[in-house]
Structure formats: structure tokens, C-alpha cells
């Protein structure tokens, strides 16, 4: 999650110039505005995907951006999905770990999703990142981009590999 700004090495008693400070502030503002944009955008997109397919939708934990969607197929059969909408521009493992703790404590759902935004992370990068993360129970969560969500819901969650 780091951001980089190239600035010449300063002497011991030298201060940053106004221009350099402005560059740093600009980078910070971009970073924070990206997060703010995702906080609004990702839950909206995910909610729209579920609600348009007749799922009920509700906040489960607002600070953690975890939402519950459920759909009753028959008197006995209900699909319950817990979704975390990430506002980072990549998979941020501490956030994933915290969400997994919450999902485990919350109880049983049919599926747990970690939905991310931004660029689609290539499979050969994503899988080793998660497998090498050391996060407990990581196998219990499905990590996907919000643009993959429609295919998953439309298939009634049958396109998950065995």
C-alpha cells in the first residue's frame, strides 16, 4: 500500500521546499480520495449485483464493510453470502485477516467473498500471495474482482472449482 515520491536527498538541516511538500500532499490526497471513492463505489456495485438477482441485502458490519445477502429458493433452501468490499487497490492481507476473523465469529454462511476493485490481479500473482500469507482459514474465503461477481451469482455459485 506504499506510495512513492521521488525527492532529492536533503542535507541534514535542509527543509523540504514548498514544491516538494505540495507533491507529497498531492500524493496523499490522491491516495485518500481513491480510498474514499472505493468506499462508496465497491459496496454500491456489489449490492447492485445481488439485489438485481433478487437477493436481500443488509449491512452486517459497517466499519468492516461486510454485508450479508440472502435469497430464499424454497422453504428449506436459502443461500446466504457474506461479502467484504475492499477499499484498497490490492489485496491487503491485514484487512483480509481481520475480515476472516469477523466472518468466522459471525457464524455460518454458504459463501464468504472478499471483493476487490481496481486492476484484475493475475491468477499467478494472487494465488501465491494468499497461500503464502499465513492467514488462518484463508481457504474459507473466495477472492474475486467485482466484475467476476455477476458470473458467480448467475451460475448459482456452481462455477467454483471443486
Amino acid at each position: 500500500l506504499q506510495r512513492w515520491v521521488d525527492i532529492p536527498l536533503l542535507a541534514k538541516d535542509e527543509d523540504l521546499t514548498d514544491e516538494q511538500l505540495a507533491i507529497i500532499v498531492d500524493e496523499l490526497e490522491h491516495y485518500l480520495s481513491d480510498i474514499f471513492r472505493r468506499k462508496c463505489r465497491v459496496p454500491f456495485i456489489v449490492q447492485r449485483e445481488f439485489v438485481s438477482r433478487d437477493f436481500a441485502w443488509r449491512h452486517l458490519n459497517k466499519p468492516l464493510f461486510v454485508y450479508e445477502s440472502s435469497k430464499q429458493h424454497s422453504r428449506r433452501l436459502t443461500t446466504k453470502v457474506l461479502s467484504h468490499c475492499s477499499f484498497f487497490d490490492q489485496i491487503y492481507l491485514p484487512a483480509l485477516e481481520r475480515v476472516l476473523e469477523f466472518l468466522t465469529a459471525t457464524g455460518r454462511a454458504n459463501y464468504s467473498l472478499y471483493v476487490y476493485d481496481g486492476e484484475l490481479i493475475p491468477e499467478p500473482q494472487l494465488r501465491p500471495l494468499l497461500e503464502g500469507s499465513g492467514v488462518e482459514r484463508i481457504e474459507n474465503v473466495i477472492v474475486l474482482h467485482h466484475q467476476e461477481l455477476a458470473a458467480l451469482i448467475d451460475s448459482n455459485f456452481t462455477v467454483l472449482p471443486a
Binding site: E119, P122, E123, R127, E139, L144, E148, L160, P161
Partner: protein
């Protein structure tokens, strides 16, 4: 790991992508270029991830985003199966693929030359030429005056 990839296969689909980033004076929203290129990158990433190819009009503004996605999603899969030495050679080849864009920009008015230069780059860059050639096929053009098309697997 339960899943990071859905069991979806786009076999049988050919996804055509045409367009460009309009001139700034025609933008209808701020940072319109960013929105368009993010969409192009995401669409390309999804198509390549699930096994199909983008047929792209090789517009200079789109080409870098498409090549980058193709390199990340297709060649990197093979990269995992190669030795360290082979990886190094492949990585150099992928870098060469990125420079194709420069050729497109410089020679945009000479489509035949673009085709020839691109092919030369692929085949002479390294012994892994075939590997990258799988991600870039020479298109079939009935009309020699038709603009060049780059196919990416």
C-alpha cells in the same frame, strides 16, 4: 485455497475491441482517459484470464494497456513452470513486446511495415519467440489497405 478463479471458459468467443481516447476538448467528464483505459485493461484482463483473446484495432492509446494485461495474465502463467534461467530470457522477451507499441506509434501510417517489424521482433528477440508468438498472431487481412490488427491470446 478455495478459489481465486472461477470455473469459466470463454472458449468459442472472440472479443473485438475498438475505440480510442477522444481529444481532451471532447471529454464529457474529468479524467475520461483514465476511465476508458481502466475499462480496457479490466476487460482485457478478464478475457485473457478466462482463456480467450482480444482482437484489437491496435490504437496507440489502447495498446500498452492490452499488452500489459496479456503479458501479466498469459505469459506469467507459463513463467511459473520455467527455470530461473528460462524465466530471465522470457522476461526479456516480454519487455520486447512492450516496445512494439513504440513501433505502432512511429509507423502508424505504414501498416505493412508495422506487421513486418512486429514479426521480426517476435522471432528474433529470443529463443522463446514461439512462446510470445502465441500471444500475438498475425491477422488475416483481405484488403491490404485495411488497418493492421493485433491479436492477443
Amino acid at each position: 485455497m478455495r478459489t481465486t478463479r472461477l470455473d469459466i471458459n470463454l472458449a468459442g468467443f472472440e472479443v473485438g475491441l475498438s475505440g480510442a481516447v477522444p481529444d481532451r476538448k471532447e471529454w464529457t467528464e474529468p479524467a475520461m482517459d483514465r476511465a476508458i483505459l481502466e475499462f480496457v485493461a479490466l476487460l482485457t484482463g478478464l478475457v485473457v484470464k478466462y482463456g480467450r483473446r482480444i482482437i484489437h484495432g491496435a490504437h496507440p492509446t489502447f495498446t500498452p494497456a492490452i499488452l500489459r494485461q496479456a503479458a501479466q495474465h498469459s505469459t506469467s502463467i507459463l513463467r511459473n513452470e520455467l527455470s530461473e534461467e528460462e524465466n530471465e530470457k522470457l522476461f526479456k522477451t516480454v519487455d520486447v513486446a512492450a516496445t512494439v507499441n513504440i513501433i505502432f506509434e512511429q509507423l502508424a501510417s505504414k501498416p505493412d511495415l508495422i506487421q513486418r517489424e512486429f514479426r521480426n521482433l517476435i522471432h528474433t528477440s529470443s529463443e522463446f519467440g514461439n512462446l510470445v508468438a502465441e500471444t500475438a498472431e498475425e491477422p488475416i487481412r483481405d484488403d491490404p489497405n485495411e488497418p493492421p490488427t493485433l491479436l492477443l491470446n
